[in-house]
């Protein structure tokens, strides 16, 4: 008993007497905390707050001449702006990131730029950004799947359904066994949209359903509502009787999440098929 007490006391003394870890400089610590808090908020879907914290982190890192931290947080800020639907603001941030960042961020900057350009329907510029990105990323690079998904989106916008499907399927292969549920959901959605555009509505339906299942697991209202719209479009194409039900689900989700644009699209889709706005099934 006495020996164990002695051992315990020795351990405590050793612990107290050990060399303390040198603390990080306070400004760096504050910058990292702002970045970390922003990332937590981003993960929770609070993109507006995340953007404010990343903006603060950019300034804090810049104030200590930490170019890696500044560039990294500019990319985070651009991602938050894109999630908020502010593609123009994201492009402004990316322009400043491209000016001061080190070469390690070049590919990410190009991919985010293409993402913003696609959101703004600047398809030609998006194609250019993606071509430049493809030059920096082989199939073994970490962002290869994201690159293929953006290429699929660009091809879809240019009415190249076959190209879009090929890129989306390549992305799916690259994502197999990886912990990237968001991108996997995006890939299935694109497969569905590409098959629908190519006239294969029957093949599009299971892909859209898979995308919906993934987005439900991730609890992403905007994507879930979008998936229901897509499912509605597919059912309409194959003359399925439950088309209105899909649009109504899209409307219900969009209304509940306050997604005005999707809500309007679902209402319009219901009108197009001769159905008035009703309560969700």
């Amino acid at each position: 008993m006495r020996a164990s007490l002695l051992l315990l006391a020795t351990l405590i003394l050793a612990g107290c007497g050990s060399t303390p870890q040198p603390p990080e400089p306070q400004r760096l610590r504050a910058a990292l905390e702002a970045e970390s808090e922003g990332a937590k908020r981003y993960q929770r879907g609070d993109y507006a707050f995340a953007a404010r914290r990343f903006d603060e982190a950019v300034r804090l890192h810049a104030a200590i001449d930490d170019s890696a931290g500044t560039g990294r947080n500019r990319l985070h800020l651009a991602r938050s702006e894109l999630a908020l639907g502010r593609a123009e603001a994201a492009l402004v941030v990316l322009a400043s990131a491209a000016g001061g960042a080190d070469a390690g961020f070049a590919l990410d900057i190009l991919l985010l730029k293409a993402q913003a350009q696609l959101a703004l329907a600047r398809d030609a510029e998006a194609q250019q950004s993606l071509a430049a990105a493809a030059g920096l990323c082989s199939d073994s690079c970490a962002q290869a799947a994201s690159l293929h998904l953006l290429q699929a989106r660009a091809a879809l916008a240019a009415r190249g359904a076959a190209d879009a499907l090929a890129h989306a399927e390549t992305a799916l292969k690259l994502l197999q066994g990886k912990d990237q549920a968001h991108e996997t959901g995006n890939a299935w959605r694109l497969v569905a949209a590409a098959r629908l555009a190519a006239g294969d509505a029957a093949g599009a339906l299971p892909a859209a359903q898979t995308a919906l299942d993934i987005d439900r697991r991730l609890a992403l209202p905007e994507k879930i509502a979008g998936d229901w719209l897509l499912i509605g479009d597919i059912r309409r194409k194959v003359d399925a009787g439950d088309t209105a039900a899909a649009y109504r689900r899209a409307l219900a989700v969009a209304d509940a999440a306050g997604l005005i644009q999707i809500s309007m699209m679902a209402t319009q889709a219901l009108k197009d098929i001769g159905m008035e706005k009703k309560a969700a099934d």
């Binding site: 990332a39 123009e88 799947a145 989106r153 968001h182 005005i260």
Partner: protein
Amino acid sequence: MSLLTQYDADAAALRRGIRRFLIVAVLATLAVAAAIVVRQGVFRQTTNFSFVTNSAQDIVKGQPVRIAGFRVGSVADVSLKDDGQVLVNLEIDADHMRFVTHDARVELRKDGLVGAATLEILPGTDLSRLAPAQARLKFSRADGLAALANQVRDEFVPILKDIKAITGALADPQQGLPGTLAQIRSSSEALNTLLTNSNRQIEGIGGTAIRILGKTEQDLKYLGQTLETANQRLPAMIDRTQQVLDHVEKITAEAETSVPPALRDGSSVAADVREIVSGAKQAWPIRNFVDAPAPATLKADSDPRGEAARAR
């Protein structure tokens, strides 16, 4: 015989001892008496001042009087005047008279929350003129517990009223948050419908115009393409900008009328709290237990808004 002689010598020694003891005792008694007299200030040169107050609460005879924390005198007398006021006489050492200016003020203070009350003479600003003997000084009481409680109450009552107003305003289905949100949503929907209709018309006109221009003049083809591109891009931008402006204006207007000032200060309060938390994190020894976070990585998501599904 020798035995008697020996007895006399012993008796004399005893008498001498007793006499010495008595002398020492008398001297000690006199010294104590002298000390008491000196302590009472019998031989001290003092000057008397007085002040008048409406209550003798916490003022007693013999109570110390201080200047800058040093004892310089005491309360000589507390008496009730014919008009019901209380007259307090102070005895101040002449040595400290130089601090008692003609505009000096006496303040009753308490040492801590439960300490004894003391009178403090606060010299005035005009140091060139001293108070004459028997001068009547001004008197005030420093904030005690009751005053502090009143002060706290005065600070809290408006906040509590604000909270009551906030909860009332927020819960109100017509004017409160539910009503405001409903108004914002209905306004946005109406505006968006209007803008969508306008966009369609503009696009139609733009398409027709381009066809006509293409037939009549080839050189204007580029201009037509530019217009078409602008037509495609502008509606989305105008739509989005208009939505944002509409929301901001609506919320600001509603905030001005229905949100009390305390709620509008929320952001600064939140900033303060964040500052405090971050300060606490950086303070020893807490900082030793809180590691600085590692650089963050966000999950890859090339389509965070699911726009691919809406490319209809």
